[in-house]
Amino acid sequence: MMEFAPVRAVWRRELALYRRYWASTSFAAMTEPTIYLLAFGYGFGSVVGALYGYDYKDFVATGVVATAVLFIGAFGGMFNTFIRRTFQHTYDAMLAAPVDVRELVTAEASWLAVKAGVYGCAPMLVGVAFGLEPSWGMLLVPFIGFLTGLVFALFGVWVSAIVPSINTFDYVITGALTPMFMVAGTFFPVTQLPAWVAAAAQVNPLYHCVELVRGAVFGRLGLDDLGHLGVLSACAVLMWALAVWKMRARLID
């Protein structure tokens, strides 16, 4: 039986650690999208101007929400989990207490997802400061960020449990995360890409995140967004199963 108490206890540890590093995390979360917006929004935007009726920097501000969510979720899932499992042996200590692997995985991933949901809003807020029009739909963005963050955090945990060493992450970052990051409609619409790449974007969770974020922020959510939500939810369930399976194999012998 999956219980809530252990999940909360693991969160409690994350909270204690977060008190140590909140300043640096928050600085990075606000500064990075500002740089993107200045560089792409103004630099590129002065050439592009408008895109499908959006001001280009509004397009980028919403796109960068997704990339922030991707990096917080996936990097946290990969590096934190790997370091805690192999170098710090934190998970060995926790699993000697009444905590199961699936509770541990759920807690670690959901914490990262909350962070992704919260810090994912930073680019949007920076965008507002640069002239993006506030809307009620923006209130949905943290939830979209949470769900997407959950997918990528669980992906990261799964990957952390199958790589032989921390260096192997290079393959994952360059081979999987970078293409996902580019082919998701973050900086340019996927419809501009060759047909096969556009088709590949359909199986990229980040693409569905970008669509939902734009739908929410620009107030044009429709029935097709249920599809996006469905894909993200399915990915979360699949990644959870994979992450728990491989982490159990690594932690319980």
Partner: protein, 307 residues
Amino acid sequence: MPIVASMDAIVLHGVTKRYPDVTAVDGLDLEVPEGICLGLLGPNGAGKSTTMRLLTAQSLADEGEIRVMGLRLPQQSKQARALMGVVPQLDNLDEELTARENLEVFAHLYRVPRQERRAAVDRALALAQLTDRAATRTVNLSGGMRRRLLIARGLVHQPRLVLLDEPTVGLDPQVRQELWSLIVRLREEGVTTLMSTHYIEEAERLADDCALMSHGRIVARGSPEELVKEHAGAEVAEHYASQERQAEIAALAAEAGVPTRRTGPSISLLKSEQLPRSLEEALGPPNVRRPATLEDVFVVLTGEAVE
């Protein structure tokens, strides 16, 4: 008439754990009655740490039966873990967190009720003699303080059963002595303790009962005194001699059925009070006569060669 069955806190029956290249635990039978401190002695690689991991179901046995506090493992391992405190051999404290925060996290993990949490953490800090250092980040604590914190972390929920895996490995004699007092206090409070160690003195001083482990199974069990009496006798005779002469003495002793062990420049004949007259004459008077120790038993039963 009420029947008070004295329960075993830990029961392992025919437990085997195989890894691809080694059988770490090989048909292990072990019972630990409630309230005692059992010293699990054995050389490195004897299977002590694997046994500890089996008891928290962090290792799953290939064969055999394991019960902890009457609960069946691995099916009821979560309930069992809630009743146990585990002190690992490897320091896995959160270095970024303070001493207090480390204990708070485990008070949550062990589900100490909210209204008792603060008192539980304070008590654990006092136990580790770290009340003054509660707000110090763990990375800034000394080695001895860290080890005390590690032990206190496993005791924050006042478990009735504690697993100590090599509690003093790599520590100064002074620090070791401090930890021993802590373990003695546990026993006085009636907490069942399973302590693995390869320090003979530690087992001699702390354990009510010792189990000697070798190649994944228990080769001898009893109180330190009983073990010494049974396997090493009352007295040991040491003969200082060249390597060649030592080999001759060993051969003569083996012929007479007297256990021996090498002790550096000398060879020790155990149970020397039982030496046959003929052998005694052949060897001449020993250089040293000394009481037999648990170390003699350890070496004789677990082998002289380090694997």
